[in-house]
Structures are given as structure tokens and as C-alpha cells.
């Protein structure tokens, strides 16, 4: 690699990659809590011409069947009795969003009850999925984000008279990825076990996840069954789980065990 390449990469890394520049103003520094992302989302909402936004996090690793949407951040300009973000997260709309998240990386666009949906430029034709949403209050667009086994979800913008072209749509999708990644970083900072797991605790969790019962693990490690169960218990407590099964699931999702 040439010196030029080094310099170019170093320079853009110093700049921290893309900082969303809207109207010439940089939006925010590294967020310290989820609400810090709201100015960014408001700017994105302005760009797309929407009236409301919602960040919906999907549990269950984004699985179509086990995934549930949970609103994390939202702001809809209309005062309504039922929170719009809950209407989107549950019911037919929620299921449609989870199904889309499971099978597609493209933005999802839908019409409202009284209109034909956002106007799409011809340069979006293969880069967007159109659908009808049974209980959506108005037209909208959802950007699916999949980071891996954690941090999956959709960023939704709702509004009438949305008009979109491929370039700005793509930029928005990139920004949605930034939002979800920053949210995941925040969550990880909060969720990191107060004391890190010891080697013994990790070993017991790994063996348990591989199908070995406590007696077998005790044999392998040359310990008593009670000691093994104690290690599994302390690992469970450190991972803030209710039992060892949940502890194993968390440990795999967080990458502590394979």
C-alpha cells in the first residue's frame, strides 16, 4: 500500500468517517445517551420530508418468528391517543416490518389509507420494496438495519407527500446504520458485566452450551459438581440473567463464548 493510501485512510479515520452534515452543521458528537441521537433523527426527518420518525429495535437476533419490535426513540408531530410508534411496532404493520427485516436489505415503502404512497424517482426502481400496510396511519418508509445478532431493527419515517430519489435514500440508509450502531455501542456500555467473567465461569458456560451436564463438566475440569454449579450461578448473576440457560444465550450473543 502506498503512502498516499495510508494518508487517505488515516485522514478519514481521524475525521471519524462520515459525520452527518445537514445544512452545513455537524450533528452532535459521540452520543452519551440514546436521546442524543434525536437531533440527528430530526435532521434526517427534514431531509426526507416526513412528519414523524421512530427507531424500532428488533429482539431475537432479527428472526422473523421470534423477533419483536420495541420502539427506542420516536417523535411524531401529531398528537394522538395511541402512540404511533406502538401502532407500528405491533399488529400487522409490526409483523410486516419484521418479515421485511428478515429477508431484505432494501428500504420498504408503503402507501397510506388515502394515497398512493411516496413518489419514487425512476432511479429507485430496483432499490426499494413497495408494499401495502394494513393498519398504517399514513404513508411511510422503513430502513432495515442488520448489524448481526445484536443491534437489529428499522428506522421508520412517516408522512404524506414524501418524494424520494435513490441518492438521498441511500445516504439516509447509511445514516440509519450509524444511528443503530451508536445505539448498540450505548447499550453495550450499559450492559457490560460489572465484573468480567472468570476463565472458569466461561469454561463452564461453554461446556454447558455444548450439551454437557454439571457432572460431566465437573469430570472434565477436575472439580466437584457443586463447584461447577457455583461457577454457573456466579456467571448467571454477572450476566444479569435469571437462569443459566438465559446466561448461555446472552454469553453467545455478546460473543463471550462461541
Amino acid at each position: 500500500m502506498t503512502l498516499q493510501m495510508h494518508a487517505a485512510i488515516a485522514a478519514s479515520e481521524r475525521l471519524g468517517g462520515v459525520e452527518p452534515l445537514v445544512d452545513g452543521h455537524e450533528i452532535g458528537n459521540a452520543p452519551t445517551m440514546a436521546a442524543d441521537l434525536i437531533p440527528r433523527l430530526c435532521a434526517m426527518r427534514r431531509v426526507v420530508g416526513a412528519t414523524g420518525f421512530a427507531v424500532l429495535s428488533c429482539s431475537g437476533g432479527g428472526s422473523r418468528i421470534a423477533g419483536k419490535l420495541v420502539p427506542v426513540l420516536a417523535d411524531f408531530d401529531r398528537p394522538d391517543d395511541e402512540a404511533d410508534e406502538d401502532a407500528l411496532a405491533r399488529g400487522a404493520a409490526g409483523r410486516a416490518l419484521v418479515a421485511h427485516l428478515d429477508c431484505s436489505s432494501l428500504p420498504l415503502v408503503w402507501a397510506g389509507p388515502d394515497d398512493d404512497g411516496p413518489t419514487l424517482h425512476a432511479d429507485c426502481r430496483q432499490l426499494v420494496v413497495r408494499t401495502r400496510m394494513a393498519d398504517a396511519p399514513m404513508a411511510g418508509i422503513a430502513f432495515p438495519v442488520r448489524l448481526g445478532s445484536l443491534g437489529n431493527g428499522l428506522v421508520v419515517f412517516e408522512g404524506e407527500g414524501l418524494a424520494l430519489a435513490a441518492g438521498p435514500l441511500f445516504d439516509l440508509h447509511r445514516l440509519c446504520y450509524r444511528v443503530m450502531t451508536d445505539l448498540l455501542k450505548l447499550e453495550m456500555r450499559k450492559a457490560a458485566p460489572r465484573k468480567s467473567l472468570s476463565d472458569r465461569e466461561l469454561a463452564c458456560l461453554q461446556w454447558a452450551g455444548d450439551g454437557f451436564k454439571s457432572e460431566a463438566i465437573a469430570d472434565k475440569l477436575g472439580l466437584s459438581v457443586h463447584t461447577v454449579n457455583a461457577y454457573l450461578g456466579s456467571a448467571t448473576a454477572k450476566l444479569d440473567a435469571v437462569n443459566r440457560i438465559q446466561a448461555i444465550a446472552k454469553a453467545i450473543r455478546l460473543g463471550f463464548i462461541a
Partner: protein, 222 residues
């Protein structure tokens, strides 16, 4: 170099014609890469070539190099992978690897996801090319858009033959719920829940609930 809007139009055209290669070539042109390779990083580790989705790398390089790289990459810490999604990783080829002339020994590997499929984009460049981090990040999302249309993105549950109810039970078990609690949540009897669990353990050939949950999480079922 190809401009961004021109690339998006090329992707439209490639998808119109269901031409996987043409779209990937356009992405290559956009980032200034010479060769591309897209592979799944979530497949079984023993199949050397089975996880490669598409590539225009010289075949010997695919065989000698790509498979091992994908395998190594698959061992990355999950949280780091999630936080670093779409971020390019640079590394040098092994000294004893023979590359075509004019190719730089520095390659780039970018993880991305399409649905529940985990993939990597691996790029080879000519010596002396100046790269843009921005374009490389773009390339990852564009690969998700484009290659995602050609990859089976869901359905790990089909391979294991688990029903929706069974996966639902697994999801609740992984949150620490007991059979009693699950029966209340879903609205079925405790016996039915236990039957589902027995069926799950039979189908997945697991001996304990812990093992069944571990398998499900590793396969992105829950």
C-alpha cells in the same frame, strides 16, 4: 472512477437483468478495486468453496486464500463484528502467496449482512490506488442491496425443520422462562410446551435445554 449516482443506476440495470456479476463489477469500479469476492461467513467451516457467493478473483487465489480468510474472519468477536459492520478491514497477504502482477498485497475485507445471512466482501486492488473510506462503506451497503437479492437470506429454521411454535418456545426459554410461564404467555398447556421442547431436542439432536438454546442462538434462530 464511477460516480455514486451512476453506480446506483448500474445496480438498477444489473438487478433488472438479474446479473449478479455486473452489479458487483460496478461496485468494484466505484471503489477502485480490481477484483471482488463475496462469501458467506456463517456457513459450515469445512466447505472450502461452498460459501463463496460470487467472485472474479483468479480461481487459485479463491482456493488457496479466500476460504481460510473467511474462516478466520468468522471467529471475530460478535459485538465487535456488530459495531464494526460495513467498516473495511485492511490486511496484508501472506508472503508466500503468489499474486498476479500489479496487484497490491494489501487486501480489504468488509463484513455486511443481507437478511439473516452474514457475508463478507473481499477486495483486491492495484498497487498505488488511493482509497476512500466513504466509498468502501457505501460498497458494503450496496453489496447488501445487490448480492442480497441473490442469496438465500432467511430460513435457518427450515434446515433444522423446526416449526414456528417451536421457535417461539425457544425464544422464551432463552429469556429464562419456565415451561409454566411459557404456557401462560402463549396460552397453551404446560404439557404442550414440554412436548414442543422434546420435539425441538429430538430434531436438533441436543441433550439439554442449554444445548438447544446455544444451537438456536448460534444459528440466528432466536
Amino acid at each position: 472512477m464511477l460516480a455514486r449516482n451512476a453506480l446506483l443506476e448500474r445496480l438498477n440495470e444489473a438487478l433488472d437483468d438479474r446479473d449478479l456479476a455486473r452489479g458487483m463489477q460496478a461496485i468494484c469500479a466505484y471503489v477502485g478495486a480490481e477484483h471482488y469476492l463475496v462469501a458467506r461467513s456463517d456457513g459450515p467451516a469445512d466447505t472450502a468453496l461452498g460459501n463463496v457467493v460470487t467472485s472474479d478473483w483468479p480461481f487459485d487465489l479463491v482456493r488457496s486464500f479466500a476460504a481460510e480468510l473467511v474462516r478466520e474472519h468468522g471467529k471475530m468477536n460478535e459485538v465487535e463484528r456488530c459495531i464494526g459492520i460495513h467498516r473495511p478491514i485492511f490486511a496484508m497477504c501472506d508472503d508466500n502467496l503468489r499474486l498476479p502482477p500489479a496487484l497490491s498485497r494489501r487486501y480489504c475485507i468488509i463484513p455486511f449482512n443481507a437478511g439473516s445471512a452474514r457475508l463478507v466482501l473481499m477486495l483486491l486492488f492495484r498497487e498505488g490506488i488511493v482509497l476512500s473510506q466513504e466509498r468502501l462503506h457505501d460498497a458494503a451497503l450496496m453489496s447488501a442491496y445487490h448480492a442480497g437479492a441473490f442469496v438465500g437470506t432467511g430460513g435457518a429454521e427450515r434446515a433444522l425443520d423446526l416449526t414456528e411454535r417451536e421457535i417461539e418456545c425457544l425464544a422464551w426459554i432463552s429469556e429464562g422462562k419456565t415451561s409454566d410461564e411459557i404456557s401462560t404467555i402463549i396460552g397453551i398447556s404446560r404439557n404442550t410446551v414440554n412436548n414442543y421442547i422434546t420435539s425441538i431436542m429430538r430434531k436438533t439432536a441436543t441433550k439439554t435445554r442449554s444445548e438447544a438454546i446455544a444451537l438456536a442462538v448460534r444459528n440466528s434462530l432466536i
